[in-house]
Amino acid sequence: MGIVSPGFQGRRRMSGPALPPGQYLTEDFPVLSAGPTPKVPLDDWEFVLGTETGAEFRWTWPELMGLPQETPTVDIHCVTRWSKLGTSWQGVSLDTLLDGVDTAARYALVHSYGGYTTNLPLDDLRGGRAWVAHTYDGVPLPAEHGGPARLLVPHLYFWKSAKWVRGIRLLVDDQPGFWETAGYHDYGDPWREQRYQGD
């Protein structure tokens, strides 16, 4: 329990602007959704990590809860221009989930219950920068915010932090996801304002 990174965030705030370009600060937590909210009973929930060779690693809900937990406090930036600072989460680091997974893949395609997908480089899931988060602000993550569990990759625009996360496929070649096939950026760094293809 308890790997927190407020120091990292604090340094950022002291040394530069708290908000990426084009963003405004919000205190509430807007609900964005591209479809109906899936209802996933915890008994049926599972998370599947698949590699480029077809190997699969699965976790049930109790198994996820049995893994080492972290409590990141992070700033989040939505491509629709709101940012929210100092959000508190609990979840399992992707470093933990990827530990022992043998792969030569460089890309990841994230899948959600309900059919949503998003892509990002595998490296961005490593290094203490990505979690499967199940608790927000001390309570179980509400369904409208992606519960039972969502991906949390706060250094990229928030559409990469897929709600209702169900699994991740590791890929040799990059494969664009739901918004990335409709004009949005393949990487989505808010500090470089990579909103749309070509930005």
């Binding site: 959704s33 591209a34 479809g35 109906p36 909210t37 059919g115 918004w179 096939t181 949005y184 749309y196």
Partner: protein, 115 residues
Amino acid sequence: MTDMSYLDGNMLDGPLRELFAVDLSAATGRCQSCGMVAPVARLHVYSHAPGLVARCPACTEVMLRLVRAPDRAWLDLRGATFLQVPMPLEGRRPADPAGTRPVGGDRRGGRGGTG
């Protein structure tokens, strides 16, 4: 399960009018996923999102997506096998020489012909 988080397809009228000269509010579309033919106005449109996502009212699969950047737009219709758009009868277009054909007698709907 009720879901009040979407709007009906009438809200696509304005955004699509930016791209097309035809009035799509009276169009119908066929869902690629389940085959249902539905008026565009009956699609379920999720607009609290980075773009507009219009879903089939029967199976909830995506039929149309529209993303608007400041200087560009992307329209994705892969979830719709067709869009059927009502057109004025050939030879009866308002641009025809005046008086050669009667206009509007067999038009359906209140919006046709009013431009």
